[in-house]
Structures are given as structure tokens and as C-alpha cells.
């Protein structure tokens, strides 16, 4: 009966996955295998938090080791004197079983201690009762197994050498070789088996489903760059126009990977803990997003819009696409993809999005930059610097310096463009800028969900770059860096894209840029931008520059665990509810005692400078290029 319950539910779940929208997750098998080994077997993501990680690892590894005992118990229930051939008789296996039973119990106790005594906030919104039940069932299974073994030993029925299972052996002294024990032996094995069967039926109806789904979800997780979003196809000749997929509006629009994501969620809340929006009082919790979607999928509701029923609109817009949630998730759920897909439907089909983002969207499309300034003024920052502007037909430079809209038009971001240009010139690098022919990469349009406008820009820019014969691009903006390097290949544009901090660090280490000897005194703390560090692993190069010009001090949330400045996900143009993300980060920076906050991104520059002013600190926020350029001018 339990089998039937299990199977019908599994059928339902696989059906839901199968019926979902398609997505491409094959290929890259070696990488997938490595992920499976590291994340599932090695529990790497769970161990990002050592305590809870070990707790879970013990239970998980215990499950793997103890799995054959399920068969042994099933056999033992029907044939009292039989067991699994060979394995059932191995002393070393009995030892492992005992050890892992204890470890599992230890894990369960630790879990209960965390949940009941520590009560971390990441569980806010999770179904705690369900978790308690599951822990109880696990404990019951393990304890009943130990007691069953103990009674078998007491009755001399053990098929394995008793001395090899010290715990069961010790417990066996509680029982004498008598009729009561014979009954208890049956009782314990039946409790064990019934609990397992009951668990089996309950399992796919609870979040414990993750024990099967998570491993599959990890296999199908992203193997390409974290910052890359999956494009939508608007002109598929095989798909009639009214069946085109414009993101996720209803449950049936979710892709099978997204459905699998929702089934994998264990409500652990690590994503919620990592989310900068949640940390600053907004309602967005990546956990609640996934749980909300899961509930609507399981309800097999094909009519109700996902927003606001499964996910309130505010949650969708609060996201800064920093990816901290994805990084924290032990089962490879890709929350950012979900949120962007929800945004895509809202923006492209319903035209429903925060009003203050509308000027940005219109400006990007009509004026080719989100500031709405005339493209003819794009190279004004370079007017006095003698920077080569690449005209159509000109020979391609070694490096195309992609300035980005922020550094072209925003007065605070602009200083880093001038500094970068001067540094590259002083090092004799052959570079040019596109000037007015450089349009927005389309990143803000893509992150807010307007994939259609983004693709128009991607295609236009790729055409410009390819016609110009560009092969290498250096850019100061991590968002441009991410889009040009990771996303433009989907549109025919493949270039070697490096971040300005990488090139400048190389030039410093080669001695082509020499910071003055006076430099090195200034205490500087460096803020990793999400799109540079977390999405694209560029972590050391900016630090090399900081070390060359000052005394580096690290913040606690640094490198891939960095805390967002608040501008991502098109938030540079949207209002923020609740406390400000940028002020939160500025407070952290101030607390290091450094007077200078170095950044490597024009958005971070603006957001953190704003934050520094509103928080009333004296913190100076500057791009690493600006600081490096000053360290050279300052010649001692």
C-alpha cells in the first residue's frame, strides 16, 4: 500500500516535471559529474556553514551507508533468519552501520538543538512542524534499527560477528535471551520497516522529497557562468506566436528545471539568510519564492497567475540579482532564474513593473542608454585625453575599451574612465573606445525582464564589434563585463573580455605601471561587486591593485560572500523600500576603520558613495583605477 502511495505521488511529480516547458541542460557532462561528486557526495555547499553542514552530512552519509539495511530489514521481516547475501554477514559493514547510526542520531540531536534552542531566523516562514516530524521519523528508524540489532544479538540471531557492532552489542545487554526479547525483536523490526514504509509514502508529499530530487537537481544545475541568463527565443519558426514563452506567468510556463527546483527545496533558509533585500527589511525571501511556486505547481493550478498568488509582486521587484541565494543553496536551486522569469512575464506581457523604471526602459530603447542622454555626448569624458575613438573602417585596436553607460554619463563613475584611459596610455597599451557607437549592453533591460529590448541591443552591439574586428575587450563595469563575456556569445559575439582591474593588476605586476613608493600607507577596504566576484570569480586582481597602493583590510562579507551594493537587477533605477542595502554595506566598510572604500564597479561607486553620504560617514569611495592613477600622480 505504501508502495502504491509512493508510486502514485512520484508519477504525479514526474508528470509535472515532464509537462513543464523545455530548457537545455545537457552537455558538459564532466562538469556535471564533478558537481554531483562535490555538492552531493561531498556536501560542499552545505559545509559552507560548518556546524549545520556536518549535522546534515552525518545524516546524509548515514543514509547512504544505512541504505542496504532497509533491504536487510525488509528481508528480516518476512524471513526471520535471512539477510542480504554477503553484505549482511560482513563485520566491517556492521561496524559502519553502528557508527553511522550514532552519527545520524548525533545529527538529529544537533538538528533539534539548532531548531529548538538556537532558532535561527532563516527558518522564518519554513514549515517547522514538518521538519520535526521528519527528524522524529529518522530517529525512530535509526533507534529501531539499533534495538533490532541489539535484540538479535541477545537472541544470538546475528548474522555478523557481534563484536563488530559495539553499540548494538552494548545495547544487547538490555535484553536476555527469552520470549520477551523474541517478541521485541519482531516488534523492533516491524517498527523499523513500518516507519520506513510510512516514510516512503510521506516522503514525496513532504520536503523530504529532496533526498531523491536534490541529487537530480544538482546534476542539471548550471554549468555555465553564474551571471549568464538563458535567452528566450522570439522568432522560433516552429512555435506559433501565441505559444511563445515570455517568461513565467502561470505554473505551466515554468521550465522542468524550475519545477525540479521547487521540489528540491528543503526550506533550510540559507538563501534567505544570504539575501541582502531580506537583510534590510524587505519581504523578498528567495526561500519563500521557491516555496510559493512549489505550492502552486503541486496544486496543479494552470489558471492562477504566479504573481501575486505564489509570489507577491514586491518580492519580484526587490531582487538585486546578486546570486547570494544561489551560492548558498545546497541543492542547486537557481532562484535568480526564477525571479527573472517572473519579471519577464510581468514586463513583456503585462507591461507591469515599478513606474520609476519606465523612463529607464524607454531611454534605453530610444536613446540607447539608460540615462536618456544623447549618444553624441558619450565620449565627452574623453575629449581632453586624446583617446582614440574607433570609427567605422578604422583598424581594430588590440583592446577595445568598453566604457559603459555609467562611466560615460554619471559624474561620479566618470572619474574611473578617465583614470583608466590615462593608465592604459601611460603603459603604452593600444586601445580605442567606440564612443557614440557604444550603446548600452542591454544589461538593465535584461535584468528587469525586458529580454526583447536586451536582445535588440545585443545584436546591434555584436554587429558593431564584429564589423570593427574587435577580439579583446577591457571594461571597467562588471555588468558590461558579464554581459559582453558571458551573454553575447549567445548572439554571435565571442570576445576575450577582461575586467579593467585584471589588466591593470597585470600591468602593475609587470612594472609597466609603477605606483609611487609613498603609496602603501593608506588603509583601504575593498568591496567585491557581485557581478565581478560572485558571478565571475574575479577576486584577486583588484586586491593586487589595492595591495600595491595601500594597506588592505578585508570586510567579513568579502570575495564570493560579498554583500551587494544594491544596484543590481536594475535597482540602480528603482526605488528601494525599507532600509537601504547600500547603507548596510557602508556601515560594514566603515567598521573596518579604513578611510577609503575601494570598488571596481561604477554602480558600486555611485551606490556606496550615496550610502556613505546618507550614513554620514567620511568614507571615500573610489574605483581602483582612480586610486591607482592617484598613486602614480603622487610621485614621491
Amino acid at each position: 500500500m505504501s508502495g502504491t502511495l509512493f508510486i502514485t505521488r512520484v508519477r504525479l511529480l514526474t508528470g509535472l516535471v515532464r509537462q513543464a516547458a523545455p530548457t537545455e541542460r545537457s552537455g558538459d557532462v564532466p562538469r556535471r559529474a564533478r558537481n554531483e561528486a562535490e555538492i552531493v557526495l561531498g556536501q560542499r555547499k552545505l559545509l559552507q556553514r560548518l556546524g549545520p553542514g556536518l549535522m546534515h552530512a552525518f545524516i546524509f552519509w548515514g543514509f547512504l551507508v544505512l541504505a542496504p539495511t532497509i533491504l536487510i530489514a525488509l528481508i528480516g521481516v518476512v524471513a526471520k533468519d535471512s539477510t542480504l547475501p554477503w553484505l549482511g554477514h560482513q563485520g566491517w559493514y556492521a561496524l559502519l552501520v553502528d557508527i553511522f547510526c550514532v552519527l545520524v542520531l548525533g545529527g538529529v540531536i544537533a538538528a533539534l538543538w539548532i531548531r529548538k534552542l538556537q532558532k535561527p531566523s532563516r527558518f522564518e516562514g519554513s514549515h517547522l512542524g514538518e521538519a520535526d516530524l521528519i527528524l522524529g521519523l529518522i530517529a525512530t528508524i535509526v533507534i529501531s534499527l539499533l534495538l533490532w540489532h541489539a535484540t538479535r544479538i541477545a537472541l544470538h540471531l546475528n548474522e555478523w560477528p557481534a563484536s563488530w557492532s559495539p553499540v548494538s552489542n552494548a545495547l544487547s545487554h538490555l535484553f536476555s535471551d527469552n520470549q520477551t526479547t523474541k517478541v521485541l525483536e519482531r516488534v523492533f523490526v516491524w517498527i523499523h520497516v513500518l516507519t520506513i514504509l510510512g516514510f516512503l509514502a510521506y516522503l514525496p508529499r513532504s520536503k523530504h522529497l529532496h533526498i531523491f530530487v536534490a541529487a537530480v537537481n544538482v546534476w542539471f544545475g548550471r554549468t555555465r557562468a553564474g551571471g549568464r541568463l538563458e535567452p528566450l527565443k522570439f522568432d522560433d519558426p516552429e512555435v506559433p506566436e501565441d505559444e511563445l514563452r515570455f517568461g513565467a506567468g502561470l505554473a505551466k510556463d515554468l521550465t522542468w528545471k524550475q519545477v525540479l527546483d521547487t521540489f528540491s527545496c528543503t526550506e533550510c533558509g540559507r538563501c534567505q539568510d544570504a539575501c541582502p533585500a531580506f537583510a534590510t527589511g524587505k519581504i523578498l525571501s528567495p526561500k519563500l519564492v521557491i516555496m510559493g511556486l512549489r505550492d502552486l505547481v503541486l496544486a496543479q493550478d494552470t489558471e492562477t497567475p504566479l504573481v501575486p498568488t505564489a509570489v507577491p509582486a514586491d518580492m519580484v521587484w526587490d531582487c538585486v540579482t546578486c546570486g547570494a541565494c544561489v551560492q548558498a543553496c545546497p541543492v542547486s536551486i537557481e532562484h535568480v532564474d526564477h525571479i527573472v522569469d517572473l519579471r519577464r512575464h510581468l514586463v513583456m506581457v503585462e507591461s507591469s513593473f515599478p513606474a520609476e523604471a519606465e523612463p529607464m526602459l524607454r531611454d534605453v530603447e530610444r536613446a540607447s542608454n539608460p540615462w536618456g542622454k544623447a549618444q553624441s555626448e558619450r565620449a565627452d569624458w574623453a575629449a581632453e585625453l586624446g583617446v582614440r575613438i574607433l570609427e567605422p573602417g578604422d583598424p581594430a585596436p588590440e583592446y577595445l575599451y568598453w566604457v559603459g553607460c555609467a562611466a560615460s554619463f554619471d559624474e561620479r563613475a566618470r572619474t574611473s574612465a578617465g583614470a583608466t584611459a590615462r593608465l592604459l596610455q601611460s603603459a603604452g597599451i593600444d586601445f580605442a573606445i567606440l564612443g557614440p557607437r557604444e550603446s548600452c549592453t542591454g544589461d538593465p533591460a535584461r535584468r528587469i525582464g525586458n529580454e526583447y529590448v536586451f536582445q535588440a541591443f545585443a545584436e546591434q552591439n555584436v554587429e558593431t564589434l564584429n564589423e570593427a574586428g574587435v577580439t579583446k575587450i577591457v571594461t571597467g563595469c562588471p555588468h558590461c563585463f558579464n554581459t559582453l563575456g558571458n551573454e553575447y556569445p549567445d548572439f554571435g559575439g565571442t570576445y576575450e573580455v577582461i575586467h579593467h582591474s585584471e589588466l591593470l593588476a597585470e600591468l602593475v605586476s609587470d612594472g609597466r605601471i609603477k605606483p609611487s613608493k609613498k603609496a602603501g600607507q593608506l588603509p583601504i577596504t575593498y568591496h567585491d561587486s557581485c557581478y565581478l566576484a560572485r558571478h565571475n570569480d574575479v577576486v584577486e586582481a583588484p586586491r593586487e591593485i589595492v595591495s600595491a597602493i595601500g594597506k588592505p583590510i578585508e570586510m567579513r562579507r568579502s570575495r564570493k560572500s560579498t554583500f551587494c551594493c544594491g544596484a543590481g537587477g536594475a535597482h540602480m533605477w528603482m526605488e528601494e523600500r525599507g532600509k537601504a542595502i547600500n547603507e548596510e554595506r557602508v556601515r560594514e566598510a566603515s567598521a573596518t576603520g579604513a578611510g577609503t572604500l575601494a570598488v571596481a564597479c561604477p554602480f558600486c561607486t555611485v551606490m556606496l558613495d550615496d550610502g556613505a553620504r546618507t550614513a554620514g560617514t567620511d568614507l571615500r569611495v573610489a574605483d581602483v583605477a582612480t586610486l591607482l592613477s592617484e598613486a602614480i600622480d603622487d610621485d614621491g
Binding site: 520609476e356 519606465e358 523612463p359 536618456g372 565627452d380 554619471d410 559624474e411 526605488e575 553620504r613
Partner: protein
């Protein structure tokens, strides 16, 4: 002879039209208005004006470049199938008459020839000084046939100072950042008895209603002082405020194009500067 279409003799724009008319023909300038007890009718008034024009035979008919002036002259032009040049800043009589007129709300000028007689022109507001000497406005009778007429006037109650009439206007642009951010602008405006305006980016973002918009497609203002905060100075915004006698710009970008048209510049973030100004005003007036 130049015929000037007018409504009230004390109206500043009528006086400017007179100056303009005198620049074409210093001696023979006549002014005519429409005596219509039933109120304004664009086609009705144009019919009456056309009749006067046909009777009196001027070489040039001039109207003020107001909504009404442009509308009536456009109707006259349509009836007579003659060319009309709106918002001129200067004209030289001749065959054909040559003129300079305004494009892009004032950010560009056009030199043109008008092939038609009489020449039909309207005068760009504040392009010339008001004539001190007035000319008596003769009233022509209204035309009996009028298709379009104002049927009623709905009064609107404006809280505070009306943007079009205000002597001081304080505006906020993109730099304000949010609807709530306008609080500092409103505070300063209240202290100065000024009206609050905004740029088009602000109305598109939904932070303030279109009635607050200063610009080519919003309200055109002509205050004694215009304080533009966090506004970069796009031409279509400048078209709305070029009537201001003095312009003070507050912007963190020292290269913002608005500074090229400003009399006074403050380089800084309006969120720091504007409250500081308000505080200083209070301090100066005494009592905190």
C-alpha cells in the same frame, strides 16, 4: 500696414506683438480684437478677423504666440489658404517677407521666406520687449457662424502657487530619486512662496503629476528665478524655462549642460544642498 490681433490692451504679450509689428512698419500699426459676448470661438473669431483683413488689406497680420493667437491665426491661414509662420522672433518686410522663427521650443532658430500676402505671423513670447506705447484696440463684430465655442469654464482650485504664474519656481529632476525625495524641494518652495516644478523624467516615473512638468510639452514658465535641482538640462526642458529671468542650477555634475544656461551654479547633490539652503533661509530670517 500691419494689423495686430489682440484681446486686452494691458496684456504683456500684446505689447510685445506691437513692438514686433512696429519693427516691420513703424508708422502704420492697427490693433483689432473681437467683440464676442458669447465667448471664445476659434473659427468664429478667425472668420471675423479674416473679414477685417480682407476689408483693411494689411501686408502683415500679427498675433501673439499664445495658444489662442496661434490657433486663431492658423484658422485664418486655413481659410485664406495662405502660409502662416508661428512664433517668430523677427521679420523683415519684402517680397517675399523673410522671418526668423523658433523651433524646438526655442533651442533652434529657423530663417525662412514666406510666400504669401498678407503675411500671417505670430510672435514668440518674450522674444521682444513690450511696447510702452499702446495702440487702441478696435473691436470687430463677432461672426454669427461659429461652429466651435467654449461651452463652459470649469474652475480648478490649485493648492499653492500656480506654476505658470509663479514668480519663483523650484524644480526637481531625476536627481531627486523618488516621490518622497521631493519633500526637500517642497520645503524650499514653501519658504520662498514658490511653485514646485519637475522635469519630464519625473512625470514619466510617476513621481509627480504632469501639471507640475516644466518643459516644451509641459508648462512654459517665466519666473524671476528658476531653481533647477538635479536637472541635467535637456533641450526640451530648457524650452520650458528659458523665459526665466534668472536660472540657478544645482547639480552634482559640473559638466551638466544646464550650467551653460545658468546664471548661478551650485555643484553638489540636491539632497545636501537644498536642505542647507532652507536651513540658511530660516537662520537668516531669524528664529530657526
Amino acid at each position: 500696414m500691419v494689423l495686430v490681433f489682440a484681446e486686452r490692451s494691458d496684456d504683456e504679450l500684446y505689447r510685445q506683438a506691437l513692438t514686433f509689428a512696429r519693427s516691420i512698419d513703424p508708422d502704420q500699426v492697427h490693433a483689432v480684437g473681437i467683440n464676442d459676448p458669447a465667448g471664445y470661438s476659434p473659427d468664429g473669431w478667425a472668420t471675423a478677423l479674416t473679414r477685417v483683413t480682407e476689408e483693411r488689406g494689411p501686408t502683415v497680420v500679427v498675433g501673439p504666440g499664445t495658444e489662442r493667437g496661434n490657433e486663431v491665426l492658423a484658422h485664418v491661414a486655413a481659410v485664406l489658404d495662405l502660409p502662416m509662420a508661428a512664433n517668430c522672433v523677427s521679420a523683415t518686410p519684402g517680397d517675399p517677407l523673410t522671418l526668423t522663427r523658433v523651433r524646438w521650443g526655442g533651442s533652434l532658430l529657423e530663417e525662412a521666406r514666406l510666400h504669401g500676402s498678407p503675411a500671417l505671423l505670430t510672435v514668440a513670447p518674450h522674444a521682444v520687449a513690450a511696447d510702452e506705447q499702446s495702440v487702441e484696440i478696435e473691436l470687430a463684430p463677432a461672426a454669427s457662424e461659429a461652429i466651435v465655442r467654449v461651452s463652459e469654464r470649469v474652475e480648478t482650485v490649485t493648492a499653492g502657487v500656480s506654476l505658470a504664474d509663479a514668480d519663483v519656481v523650484v524644480s526637481g529632476g531625476r536627481g531627486v530619486g523618488s516621490a518622497e525625495g521631493f519633500a526637500v524641494i517642497e520645503e524650499l518652495a514653501a519658504l520662498l512662496g514658490a511653485a514646485v516644478g519637475c522635469s519630464r523624467a519625473v512625470t514619466s516615473a510617476g513621481w509627480r503629476p504632469h501639471t507640475d512638468q516644466v518643459g516644451q510639452t509641459g508648462t512654459r514658465i517665466s519666473p524671476s528665478l528658476y531653481i533647477a535641482c538635479g536637472i541635467s538640462g535637456a533641450t526640451q526642458h530648457m524650452a520650458g524655462c528659458k523665459g526665466a529671468k534668472k536660472l540657478m542650477a544645482i547639480n552634482p555634475d559640473n559638466e551638466a549642460s544646464i550650467f551653460a544656461s545658468a546664471d548661478y551654479a551650485v555643484i553638489g547633490d540636491l539632497h545636501e544642498v537644498v536642505p542647507a539652503i532652507s536651513a540658511e533661509i530660516r537662520r537668516t530670517r531669524g528664529g530657526g
